[in-house]
C-alpha cells in the first residue's frame, strides 16, 4: 500500500509538472502585455524592456520555467507581479479560506445526505417522497440566487450575520462560524441534493441484495443491517461522488466568494488570470493539481478500506 501511495503521488507530481509547464507555455506570448499592464499608461519602450530584463522574461522560455521550478523545490514560488506578495503564503491563505468553507460544507453534506438517503431507502413511502422532493428542490434552486437571498434577508435586513468578509478560525471561532455560515448553507444545499439521491439509490440496491435477506434470516437487527452492512457497501460509490463534489465545490467557490466578499482561492485565481499575474497563476495551478491528486488518492485508499474488492493496490 505504501508503494501504491508513493506511486500515485509520483504520478501526481509528474502531472503537476506537465500542467504547470503547459500553463507557462500558454502564458508566455502575453508576458510583454502583462509587463505593460503592470507599468501602466506611462510605460515607455525603455521601461518595458527594463522590466522584462529585471523579471527575467527576456530569457528562453524553458530556462524561465526551470528557474521557476527550481524555486518551487526550495519552497519559493516567486512573488506576484502586481502586488509583490509572495505567492506561496498568499495562495495558502486564500486556500485556507476556501477549504474552511468547502470542508465544513462537505462534512455537513455527508451527515445530512447519509441520514436522508438511508431514511428514504429503508423506510420508503412518504419518507422517500419527501427526500426526493428535497433533493429536487436543492438541485433546481440556483446557488447564486440562494446566496443573494440569504445575504439580503439574514445580513442586510435582520443583521444576524455579516454580509461578507472572512475571520480566521484562529482569531475568533464564533466570528469564523458566522462568516462562513451563509456560504456553507449554499454549498450544503447544492451538495445534499446530489449526494442524498446517490446514497438513496445505492442503499436501495444494497438492501435488495441476497446477503441482506440472509442476514435477516439470521435474526440480525434492521439497524445493524442498514448501518454495518448495507451502508458500508453503499459508501463506496457515495464516496466517489463526494470527491467529485469536493472538486466541484473548489471550482464553484468563485461565485460564492464573490457574493460573500470572501478573499478565497476561486476569486484569487480569477483575478490573477484576468491580470495575467504569471507567478500567481502558476502557483494556483500547482496547488490545485496537487490538491485534486491528493483528494483522489485519499478517496481510492478509503474506498479500498471500505470494500476490499475495490482495492487497487
Amino acid at each position: 500500500m505504501t508503494l501504491y501511495v508513493l506511486r500515485r503521488l509520483g504520478a501526481g507530481l509528474v502531472l503537476a509538472l506537465l500542467v504547470t509547464l503547459i500553463t507557462f507555455l500558454l502564458l508566455s506570448p502575453s508576458f510583454e502585455s502583462v509587463v505593460r499592464e503592470r507599468l501602466g499608461p506611462t510605460a515607455t519602450p525603455e521601461t518595458i524592456a527594463g522590466m522584462m530584463t529585471e523579471l527575467g522574461f527576456d530569457r528562453p522560455i524553458l530556462v524561465q520555467y526551470f528557474d521557476w521550478l527550481g524555486g518551487v523545490f526550495t519552497g519559493d514560488f516567486g512573488r506576484s507581479l502586481f502586488t509583490s506578495q509572495p505567492v506561496a503564503p498568499a495562495v495558502a491563505a486564500r486556500l485556507g479560506v476556501t477549504l474552511s468553507l468547502v470542508v465544513t460544507a462537505l462534512l455537513i453534506t455527508v451527515v445530512i445526505s447519509v441520514a436522508l438517503g438511508v431514511w428514504a431507502a429503508s423506510r420508503g413511502g412518504v419518507a422517500d417522497k419527501i427526500s426526493q422532493i428535497l433533493s429536487l428542490v436543492g438541485y433546481i434552486v440556483p446557488g447564486l440566487l440562494l446566496a443573494i437571498v440569504l445575504v439580503v434577508v439574514l445580513a442586510v435586513n435582520l443583521k444576524l450575520l455579516p454580509a461578507g468578509g472572512f475571520t480566521p478560525f484562529s482569531e475568533d471561532p464564533a466570528r469564523w462560524a458566522a462568516s462562513i455560515a451563509m456560504p456553507v448553507i449554499v454549498l450544503v444545499i447544492g451538495g445534499v441534493a446530489n449526494m442524498a439521491a446517490q446514497v438513496r439509490g445505492t442503499m436501495i440496491d444494497e438492501l435488495r441484495k441476497d446477503y441482506v435477506r440472509t442476514l435477516r434470516t439470521r435474526g440480525v437487527s434492521t439497524t445493524s443491517i442498514v448501518i454495518r452492512h448495507a451502508l458500508r457497501n453503499a459508501a463506496g460509490p457515495a464516496l466517489t461522488v463526494l470527491s467529485l463534489e469536493f472538486i466541484q465545490m473548489l471550482g464553484g467557490a468563485l461565485i460564492i466568494e464573490n457574493v460573500f466578499a470572501l478573499p478565497g482561492y476561486g476569486q484569487y485565481a480569477f483575478n490573477a488570470a484576468l491580470q495575467g499575474d504569471i507567478p500567481i497563476i502558476l502557483g494556483i495551478t500547482a496547488f490545485g493539481v496537487i490538491l485534486v491528486v491528493v483528494v483522489n488518492l485519499v478517496t481510492d485508499v478509503v474506498n479500498g478500506w471500505l470494500n476490499p474488492k475495490a482495492r487497487i493496490y
Partner: protein, 524 residues
C-alpha cells in the same frame, strides 16, 4: 449640460483667486519661519485629534507599495496614507506645499528647489532628510517602473543641505510639480526600500501606518500616527480599506453597516437612498472618448482627413449617451480635459452638435459617400458601450469591427499600433498630464506618435512659460486646436457616486488623487 459644469467652475474661479492670495501669504510666511497655517488643516475636528473610525471598500487590492512601483487611482487610499508626498493637490486642484514646505523654480525652469519641513519623521523614528528624498527619487529614476518615465527629464537630484533638495532638469517639464504631488513625489526610506518587506509594509513618513491586523490583498488597516506633522487634518484614528470586488457585495456591506463608504452604480442610487445612506456625486472623474490614434492615416487612410474626424465627432447624441448609459451621472463633452482645470474651455462645447446628416455630407465631401469600415479593440473598457457606438457610427456610414482583446492586453492593444482607433477612458488630472498623455509624441494616448508643428510649438511655449495665467491660456489654445482639428472624438465626462453612512462626509471635489482626505466627520 452647461449649467451642470458652469456651477462648479464659477465656484472654482472664486476659490482659485482666494487660494492664490493665501498661497502667497503661506510662501511668504515659510520664508521667514515655519508657518502654522497649513493648507487644509481646518479638516480636523476642533482642537484635539479626531477619534472616529472609517471603513471603506475598494474594488481591487493595491499594487506593490514600493515607491517606484506605485499606481494611481483608488490605490492611493493606501499609499497616500502611508507616505508623505513632497507636494499636494488641494481641493481646488491647485498644487500646494506638503512635505516640502516651499518650492521654487529657477527663471529658466530647469532647476527646482524644494525645502523640506523640519518635523518629518519616518515610522521607525528617524527624521526625514533631503538625502532620503534624493535616495527615493534617484531610485525611482533608475528602476524600470510605472513612475520612472515621469522623471525622464530630470538630469540630476542633489541634497544641498539637510532640508534642501535641488532637482535639475534637462528641459522644462510642466508636469513635474503635479508628479511630485502624486505617486512620484512620495518619500520612502532609502535604507529599507530594497528590502522585500517594503513592497507590502513600507517605511514611510505619512499620516498613517499599516497595522498588524492588515491582511494583504483583502483588508488594509491604517492607524493614524498622532505625532505626524499634519495629524490634525486627519479626523479618522483608524482608516480601514477593504477590498470587495463584487459591486453587489460592497453594496450589501454598506447596507449592513460593515463599511461606511463605497462607490455605487447609478442604478443602485434609489435603493441606497432608500436605505438611509447619503449619496455624493463626483461630476467628472474621467472622460470617455474615441482615440482617433491613426490621424496620419497609416492603417486607416480616412482618419487622416479632417472632415472624417469631424464627422465622427458629430455622430454622437452625447446628451442621450449620458442619460442612458450613465443615468445622468456625467456630462456630455467634446473636449477631454478636466472641467475644473485651466485647459477646459466652455466655449468649445457646441463645436460638434449631434448632426448625422451633416456628418454624412462631410464624409461624402471627403470621398466616402459609401462609408468605410474601422477596426477597434473590444476591451474591458469598451464592451458595455459597443452597441451604441456601433449604432451611432453606422448611422453616418462607418462600420465598426470590434476585435476581442483579452483583459491583460488592454493597454497593449492601444500601444501596439494595431488599431487605428480605440474607445478609451482617460482619468482626469491636471492639464500638464492630460496634454502629455493625449498629444505629446510619446504620450500613451498618442500611440502613432502624431505630431503637428503648431502642437509642438504650443508644447514648447507651455513648458517655457513660468507665469501660471499665461500658461493656462496656452493650455486653452492647445485644447482649442485639438477640438477644432478633431484629433479625438470625446463623448462624455463620467462622474462617480459614493454612498456613505450619515456620520461620514464625502468631499467630492478632490478628484485627482483619491485619499482619506476625501472623507470627513459629520458634526452632529
Amino acid at each position: 449640460m452647461n449649467s451642470l459644469l458652469s456651477r462648479p467652475r464659477a465656484l472654482t474661479r472664486a476659490a482659485t483667486a482666494a487660494l492664490a492670495v493665501s498661497a502667497v501669504l503661506a510662501t511668504a510666511a515659510c520664508a521667514s519661519s515655519p508657518s502654522n497655517e497649513r493648507p487644509g488643516e481646518s479638516n480636523g475636528s476642533g482642537g484635539g485629534l479626531g477619534t472616529a473610525e472609517l471603513t471603506i471598500a475598494v474594488a481591487a487590492p493595491p499594487a506593490s507599495l514600493d515607491p517606484a512601483q506605485l499606481a494611481e487611482g483608488e490605490q492611493a487610499f493606501i499609499w497616500a496614507s502611508v507616505f508623505d508626498t513632497l507636494l499636494a493637490v488641494d481641493q481646488e486642484n491647485e498644487i500646494q506645499p506638503n512635505a516640502a514646505e516651499s518650492y521654487e523654480y529657477s527663471d529658466d525652469l530647469r532647476t527646482l528647489t524644494l525645502t523640506l519641513r523640519d518635523d518629518l519623521t519616518f515610522t521607525n523614528g528617524d527624521p526625514v532628510t533631503a538625502e532620503d528624498v534624493v535616495g527615493t527619487l534617484e531610485r525611482t529614476r533608475t528602476t524600470p517602473s510605472p513612475q520612472q518615465p515621469k522623471l525622464a527629464k530630470v538630469s540630476s537630484i542633489e541634497a544641498t543641505d539637510e532640508r534642501t533638495v535641488v532637482v535639475n532638469l534637462s528641459e522644462p517639464d510642466p508636469g513635474l510639480l503635479s508628479y511630485f504631488a502624486q505617486a512620484t513625489g512620495v518619500i520612502g526610506d532609502p535604507e529599507t526600500l530594497d528590502e522585500e518587506s517594503s513592497t507590502l509594509r513600507p517605511v514611510g513618513s505619512g499620516p498613517y501606518t499599516l497595522a498588524d491586523a492588515t491582511v494583504d490583498g483583502s483588508e488594509y488597516v491604517l492607524e493614524r500616527r498622532d505625532d505626524h506633522w499634519n495629524a490634525e487634518a486627519y479626523p479618522f484614528k483608524t482608516f480601514t480599506v477593504r477590498v470587495i470586488q463584487d459591486r453587489t457585495a460592497a453594496f450589501n456591506a454598506l447596507q449592513a453597516g460593515e463599511i461606511d463608504a463605497g462607490r455605487i452604480q447609478p442604478q443602485q442610487r434609489p435603493q441606497v437612498e432608500g436605505a438611509g445612506l447619503t449619496v455624493h456625486e463626483q461630476e467628472a472623474i474621467s472622460s470617455l472618448l474615441i482615440i482617433l490614434a491613426d490621424r496620419g492615416g497609416e492603417l486607416a487612410p480616412p482618419l487622416a482627413d479632417l472632415r472624417v474626424r469631424q464627422a465622427i465627432n458629430m455622430a454622437f447624441d452625447r446628451e442621450q449617451f449620458v442619460e442612458t448609459l450613465f443615468q445622468g451621472v456625467g456630462a456630455p463633452t467634446v473636449q477631454p480635459f478636466n472641467p475644473s482645470e485651466a485647459a477646459y474651455n466652455e466655449d468649445l462645447e457646441g463645436t460638434y452638435d449631434f448632426d448625422p446628416e451633416a456628418a454624412r455630407e462631410l464624409l461624402a465631401d471627403a470621398g466616402y459617400e459609401d462609408g468605410f469600415s474601422l477596426t477597434m479593440p473590444s476591451t474591458v473598457i469598451s464592451q458595455s458601450f459597443e452597441p451604441v457606438v456601433t449604432q451611432a457610427l453606422a448611422d453616418i456610414g462607418i462600420t465598426i469591427q470590434w476585435e476581442p482583446v483579452p483583459p491583460q492586453n488592454t493597454a497593449s492593444s492601444l500601444a501596439s499600433k494595431q488599431y487605428p482607433a480605440a474607445l478609451w477612458f482617460m482619468g482626469l488630472n491636471v492639464p500638464a498630464r492630460e496634454v502629455a498623455d493625449l498629444y505629446a509624441p510619446t504620450g500613451f494616448l498618442n500611440p502613432f506618435n502624431y505630431e503637428d508643428p503648431e502642437l509642438t510649438e504650443l508644447f514648447s511655449s507651455i513648458a517655457n512659460e513660468a507665469d501660471e495665467a499665461a500658461q493656462a491660456e496656452l493650455y486653452q489654445e492647445l485644447n482649442a486646436f485639438s477640438v477644432e482639428n478633431a484629433l479625438n472624438a470625446p463623448i462624455a465626462y463620467i462622474g462617480g457616486l459614493w454612498a456613505t453612512t450619515e456620520d461620514v462626509d464625502f468631499i467630492p471635489e478632490v478628484s485627482v488623487l483619491p485619499t482619506v482626505r476625501n472623507f470627513g466627520v459629520v458634526e452632529g
